[in-house]
């Protein structure tokens, strides 16, 4: 299957292992990825936070380029970029006048013909149960799938039917022989957009996520979002500082888990880039103090 | 309305659904255009389509025919008969050269006060874009004669 690819900035920096693992599993899964030429940043959280025009212009320019390259579909592995592109697309579809203004801004024609897909939609298509049977290995681990916000909300943008309890990632894990556990933080926010400026908030929110995952005896948290990954992995020290607890649970990109099932080695999948070492033998070990009853009744 | 002229529109409605619906529009104080005059029938099944011709001949610019939704007819099947006869009659009116955009068919239930207001406003707007009705005097008469 030939499909367009918008890598997004993190693919060159903080999420290189995501890029590497995706590119590693693409051929065996029969995916041919065509990169959008001369792509720019999608604006992420900053653009729409303070400059609405920009938050439409940047995605529009990317989509316009994709159209030039005749892409019917484009996979956007970064959940944040996916969300920005998809919502800009629906905003532009909703209002012709705005569409025109934006087209003028970017100086390119924009029709909105390229369909924006997130990584799960695409993997679900190529990694069918049949295909998974042909895999050399399995990924026999207890995991929790963490979707975060950007893959599921808002419904209108993500086309996700089950926003409170999504399952595509869990199904993918099932197919590669993992045991996805039910847990409480599937779609809770990790605090990404305050990662740098309010690390304490991130510490608390991401802390809850690690705590719940570890508390249920998960061996790894599976993610499909560089923001979530960098918060849960790179910011592990900060989390431990705010929560006063130690967490050993590794964070894997969905593509890395699949890579392991495909029998690729850690290096091919960029595992060495993780801050939290990926050892899936030992269960993550931490004790969680019993919670108190009514929290905020102060 | 860009167009200045005030179209004359007559509405043939059934007593049980659309007339009641229009009453609800009133009780809920929803405003709509003044151009429509409602003629009340017991049932859309009663509406003899020659009345539409008569209306156009008399200079109506548009006609609304509205009754109960399918299956909701107070008399079980009046609205179905109306719909069936309309299929035939419409061809004749087209043959006579009447612009069929002047005739609006709709189902409005007793609970759909808001919908009635919408239908009236839409129709008035559409008819305004069509200019006053001349077809009948100009074409229809000659064709029939």
């Amino acid at each position: 299957m030939k499909i367009g690819l918008y890598p997004g900035c993190s693919f060159e920096g903080s999420a290189r292992e995501y890029a590497e693992s995706l590119r590693a599993i693409a051929p065996p899964l029969g995916m041919e990825l065509e990169e959008v030429e001369g792509w720019s940043c999608c604006g992420a959280s900053s653009a729409h936070a303070i400059d609405h025009g920009l938050s439409l212009a940047l995605p529009a320019s990317i989509l316009a380029q994709a159209e030039r390259q005749k892409m019917d579909e484009m996979v956007v592995p970064c959940a944040a970029c996916f969300n920005r592109l998809a919502s800009a697309k629906s905003d532009l579809a909703a209002n012709a006048r705005v569409r025109q203004q934006v087209a003028d801004m970017i100086g390119m024609s924009y029709a909105g013909t390229t369909i924006v897909r997130n990584i799960l939609e695409v993997l679900d298509r190529v990694l069918t149960p049949e295909v998974s049977k042909t895999f050399p290995n399995t990924f026999p681990h207890k995991v929790v799938c963490y979707y975060g916000c950007l893959l599921v909300r808002p419904k209108s943008v993500t086309r996700e039917g089950r926003i409170e309890d999504p399952v595509q990632m869990d199904e993918l894990m099932n197919r590669i022989g993992a045991k996805p556990l039910d847990w409480g933080m599937k779609t809770e926010c990790c605090g990404a957009s305050l990662s740098v400026t309010r690390t304490d908030v991130v510490g608390r929110l991401s802390g809850n996520i690690l705590e719940d995952a570890a508390g249920r005896g998960a061996e790894a948290i599976i993610v499909a979002c560089p923001m979530c990954h960098s918060n849960l992995d790179m910011r592990r020290k900060d989390i431990e500082r705010t929560t006063g607890k130690k967490f050993s649970i590794p964070i894997l990109y969905v593509t890395q888990a699949i890579g392991l099932a495909l029998g690729l080695d850690h290096k091919q999948l960029g595992m060495q880039r993780h801050f939290v070492p990926v050892d899936l033998k030992g269960k993550s070990k931490i004790q969680i103090k019993p919670q108190t009853g009514v929290k905020a009744a102060v | 309305m860009e167009n200045s002229f005030e179209p004359k529109i007559v509405a043939f409605v059934c007593n049980w659904c659309t007339y009641a619906g229009a009453d609800l529009t009133g009780t809920s104080r929803t405003k709509y255009a003044t151009n429509v005059r409602i003629v009340r029938f017991p049932c859309t099944g009663r509406i003899d389509y020659n009345l539409l011709l008569k209306a156009f001949e008399q200079g109506a610019d548009g006609v609304i025919v509205s009754g109960c939704h399918p299956n909701d007819c107070h008399y079980t099947s009046g609205n179905f008969h109306a719909r069936r006869r309309w299929i035939v009659f419409r061809q004749m009116m087209e043959y006579m050269g009447i612009d069929m955009r002047r005739v609006k068919f709709s189902w409005v239930s007793a609970a759909e006060g808001a919908k009635w207001a919408e239908i009236v406003n839409e129709t008035v707007q559409e008819i305004c874009d069509l200019d006053p009705s001349k077809e009948f005097s100009e074409t229809a008469i000659q064709k029939v004669a």
Binding site: I163 | V10, A20, T34, I38, V39, C43, G45, G59, A60
Partner: protein
Amino acid sequence: MSRVGVFICHCGENIGATVDCRKVAETCAAIPGVSYSVDYKYMCSDPGQNLIREAIKQKNLTGVVVAACSPRMHEPTFRKTCAAEGLNPYMCEMANLREHCSWVHTKSDATTEKAIDLVSMMVEKVKRNKPLYSIKVPVTKTALVIGGGIAGIQAALDIANAGQKVVIVEREPSIGGHMSQLSETFPTLDCSQCILTPRMVEVAQHPNITLYTYSEVESLTGFIGNFTARIRKKARGIDEKACTGCGDCSTACPFKKNPSEFNMGLGMRSAIYIPFPQAVPNKPVIDRAQCSYYLRGKCQFCVTKCPANAIQLDQEDELIDIPVGSVVVSTGFNIVDTSFFPEYGYGKYKDVVTGLQFERLLSASGPTLGEVKRPSDGKVPKKIVFIACAGSRDPAKGIEYCSKICCMYTAKHAMLYRHEVHDGDAYVFYMDIRAGGKGYDEFVRRAIEEDNVNYIRGRVSRVYERGGKLIVRGADTLLGAQQVEIEADMVVLATAGVANAGAEELAQKLHVSYDSHHFFAEAHPKLRPVETNTAGIFLAGACQSPKDIPDSVSQASAAASKVVGMFSGDELTREPVVAVVNRSAPPAFSTCVGCFMCQSACPFHAIEREEIKTRDGKIIKTVAKVNPGLCQGCGTCVAFCRSDSIDLQGYSNEQVYAEVMELMS
């Protein structure tokens, strides 16, 4: 030359504010044939009506046009007025200046213009009206009550006690409805079963009441006073005469693992079962979807075990036609579909239950025999959270309205829980407390003040499971909307009430209108709350809107009194709005050619063939004839008639053409 009187009503400010009534009256005075035209503040008031009567007398009017509110509101009023003055009531017509003009337009010349058109249109009609005389039809003095819940039971008993015959049709195997599932009832906390069961028995034993349980209305034909109901009596698989209700069959049945409908799936029942101990009739029914005999053709344990040989596995559905004079619809309500609350984890977590399920957990006849135990592990919940408005007032998910009963039953639930589990904490998340009603607010205050139920004003965002606890994340909007997190053992949703599945279908069978939420529509929200738009069909209870028991019962009694009133005479007078085939003497002159298109079009089979014979009995021709008893006056036949031989009284071709021509002139 006709002498029409035109009476323009201001309806206080309702019409007067936007329509220049004086001008309308003056303009209409000029219409040929109008000999009197006046405007007045309130036409429907006594002085107003006297104004009309005086005019009829003084000007000796031949017709009257009252331009006021909708004819659906006051046509009867003004027709009576005319009749009182000796003018045939059907010479009086109304122009709808309020609902169709003043209320939907702003003050302007156009509005007044429209008013004038509407009035003159009616004047042209009235000029062509003919005196009509109301039709007498016989009444079948039997009432059909659809639905055997508390509303149906009440209505049936009231009618039966007034000496009239009643037929009750209940879909379930037993009567009793939702009320029989309830534990205690607010605000008095008396046990639901204790007050209901005697009524149920009374129904079963009443000489005037025939009870069809496990049956449904297949169709309803005819018209007020003369309906025919076709009832499908679903096969129970039991000979009800022979069966003694001993229950041996259920004990014998090897398939006991079927979720019990009566216990909302919290308990199990066998494939052949009596829904609950106090069921009326106390006869079992075989659930053919679960019974091995029907699934695999094997196992007849019940048959062998039955001491009365009452089991009839080959029994089939029965169709019964019953003539009835009027119908009371009391099919009740249901609770919103359980897939409604993804964020509350209903269906995902066993210990998140609906209000009705919690009633069963509290009920002495319930799966836990009245002990509050949570479904997952049977432990007694020490911390319980009630979430109000679970479904109600949620336009985003489709139920905009307030379900009315939840505030009260939630207070009751919390209170009963506290009585049951003294060391337990009860929390209620609410938006508003709607406790209008006798002793209702006092009841809620008692829950808060005496039983120390913690009421927290705010909606719950999410419920999820952690370490065997249900984490309820809400906010306290009275403390600056600060977050509240409660680790609960159990969560009860104050589930919204919705129209019964199939309500729409039934409404269509009965030809009564229903609202956008599929609740049956009353004829007038204030003045005719138990009538429907179809004469002879009345509403009782929650099928019209969610209601508590007192409301349902009083509405039921109201409906019953309507029925009894209807049955008080031997015949009813019907509006003479019926079709007639023109028959000027000698009969041969009827223009009817006997194509009988009308016959095939008529929904009421009101068109008969009539042979016109010469004196020596030679048939000249066969023409159509309308049976005025059966004709409902829809007029479909008129539109079908190819030779203009059939016409509808009150909506004659002459009249409607005159209206249209007047409008456009």
